[in-house]
């Protein structure tokens, strides 16, 4: 094995870590400013120009805070729980491609930390490992709120993980590969969000629940559980939970972008122009592939998806825990199963007649399924709101 490959791994890993860390820092600012704008406030704008140094100030403040460990807490687990929560939120980004495969300095560069054939399964594995930190934080704190918050949170995560997994299956079916690079390449002609809009929508709802964001942030509802599983954490250990939540938001937006919104690829109608990531640019004597557009497109898509998450938080109230669970189990799970089978049939029919226009039955039938689900929810809510008094 050649030493340069270690350098390559190190550079890629450092890039991912720094991207997620700075992304986390500025996402907190972005969220606070965006929420402020929506609520007609100003938001943090004092530290640096437009408040750009605010994340730095927050970090410094948290470093100088006292860390408490409650009496009778399980010290070892209490120490490791935030770390176990934070690490998967970075590692999950290992298989996400940031750009097209290209040749730089005479070597072929693949723009992801690892280019593995079981990429999608890897995402599922890491997503399911992420539950541990939260359960353990709740348990080790020796606090009733923390315990209940941890259990609620993990029960919610595992319930929605099934629909998340079926979302992955939909993308694999359409892309005919489990390798994320292949899935992105398969979206050269059209994004999967267009072929399977309901699947993409379910995926986005599920990602909100997976990262415990509003309106699915019941486990952290301060009115009844103080702060949920991290009630007892302070200082940098609390900061790690916070970091994990925001890095998960970023990572899962990247995943959604990769699976349904063309990943690092341009809009499909730009595919033959000079704005495509495959285009060859001629500037003066130089001739090179426009691979650097890949990370830029990725960033744009992630920013837009993150804005939706923040917008939803500003707009919607929390969903009651019982409704949250039954929504996950009774609506999303059957709907995503239906979506998987509709996609399967669509792919088969298109293959049979050797004509990709037959893929149009996918959006049509899955929209019908989606409308049926919406009708079901509507009926259930009507029945409950009158009967419960």
């Amino acid at each position: 094995m050649d030493w340069t490959i270690w350098v390559e791994w190190l550079i890629k890993s450092l890039f991912v870590v720094f991207a997620l860390l700075t992304g986390f820092a500025y996402l907190t600012l972005y969220e606070r400013r965006a929420l402020a704008k929506i609520q007609v406030r100003i938001g943090p704008n004092r530290a640096g120009w437009q408040g750009l140094l605010q994340p730095v100030a927050d970090a410094v403040k948290l470093i100088f805070k006292e860390e408490l460990t409650p009496a009778k807490a399980d010290k070892l687990v209490f120490f490791w729980a935030p770390i176990i929560t934070m690490v998967p939120s970075i590692v999950i980004a290992a298989v996400i491609p940031f750009g097209p495969t290209t040749t730089l300095f005479g070597r072929t560069i693949v723009f992801s930390v690892a280019n593995i054939n079981v990429g999608v399964l890897f995402l599922m594995a890491v997503a399911s490992i992420a539950v541990y930190g939260i359960v353990l934080a709740g348990w080790s704190s020796n606090n009733k709120y923390a315990m209940l918050g941890g259990l609620r949170s993990s029960a919610q995560m595992i319930s929605y993980e099934l629909s998340l997994g079926l979302g992955f299956v939909t993308a694999i079916l359409l892309g005919n590969s489990m390798n994320l690079h292949d899935i992105v390449d398969a979206q050269r002609n059209v994004w999967f969000a267009v072929v399977q809009p309901v699947g993409a929508l379910i995926f986005m709802i599920v990602t909100l629940a997976e990262v415990n964001r509003a309106p699915f942030d019941m486990p952290e509802a301060e009115q009844e559980l103080t702060a949920g599983y991290h009630s007892e954490y302070s200082g940098m250990k609390f900061a790690l939970f916070f970091m994990a939540e925001y890095q998960k938001m970023i990572a899962i937006s990247m995943i959604a972008a990769t699976l349904f919104f063309g990943g690092y690829r341009e809009f499909w109608f730009l595919k033959d122009t000079f704005l495509s990531v495959d285009a060859i640019w001629n500037i003066g004597p130089w001739q090179f592939q426009a691979w650097f557009l890949g990370p830029i497109y990725m960033l744009l898509k992630v920013v837009v998806l993150l804005f939706f998450m923040i917008w939803i938080r500003a707009t919607w109230p929390r969903i009651r825990y019982d409704r949250l669970m039954s929504f996950g189990w009774k609506v999303l799970l059957p709907l995503s199963l239906a979506v998987v089978f509709i996609s399967a049939v669509g792919v088969l029919v298109a293959q049979q007649f050797d004509n990709n226009w037959y893929l149009a039955i996918i959006p049509i039938f899955s929209s019908v399924a989606g409308l049926v689900a919406v009708g079901f929810v509507d009926q259930a809510l009507r029945r409950k709101s009158y009967a419960s008094h």
């Binding site: 399980d74 687990v77 280019n115 593995i116 054939n117 079981v118 399964l121 890897f122 599922m124 594995a125 997503a127 399911s128 490992i129 539950v131 541990y132 359960v135 353990l136 348990w139 315990m147 259990l151 993990s154 595992i158 590969s177 489990m178 390798n179 292949d182």
Partner: protein, 172 residues
């Protein structure tokens, strides 16, 4: 020594140590966590054998799902530090006997199979490709179709069992 062998030896120590840790921990939550580490070590074994699909499935299903259930059960019962309950008479001897049988069986399989197969060849050539995954898929959905369908019945039985055991009477 090749890197594979060194890695294998380190992981073997980790696997045995975590297994012992799981057996000897006083606290049930620690036992569960040791078991998770053990599963992780085994997943890396699968990777070394050139079976990434099995490796990552192992992490997803065992570490990600089954151990979460174990942790839930331990926490729900508040059973982390329960005093050991009464041990059945002769349990130790029975366990020892069964362990001997298991070891004998493993040794027999190792010896007999090794003669038959020799060193198992690793299909390095198509490891990290979709084709290797498609081969797994074909094996699972054509060759082992019946076991696959029967799995669903097993899952169904497990589901019904769990529901019956935890069902509360209405109004109770």
């Amino acid at each position: 020594m090749s890197i594979d062998l060194i890695l294998f030896l380190i992981l073997a120590v980790v696997a045995v140590a975590t297994a012992l840790g799981m057996l000897l921990s006083k606290n049930a939550v620690y036992s569960a966590l040791f078991l998770v580490l053990n599963f992780a070590a085994i997943a890396v074994f699968y990777l070394l054998l050139g079976a990434p699909f099995i490796a990552i499935s192992q992490v997803t299903v065992y570490a990600g799902a089954i151990m979460v259930l174990f942790l839930f059960v331990i926490m729900l019962l508040g059973a982390e530090t329960l005093a050991p309950s009464k041990v059945l008479r002769g349990q130790g001897w029975a366990a020892f006997g069964l362990a001997v049988v298991l070891v004998a069986e493993t040794v027999y399989l190792l010896v007999s199979r090794h003669a038959a197969v020799g060193v198992i060849a690793r299909p390095d050539a198509f490891l990290n490709t979709m084709d290797s995954l498609r081969e797994i898929g074909k094996a699972l959905f054509i060759q082992y179709l019946l076991p696959f369908e029967v799995t669903s019945i097993l899952l169904l039985v497990a589901m019904v069992g769990a529901i019956v055991l935890t069902r509360r009477e209405k109004g109770g």
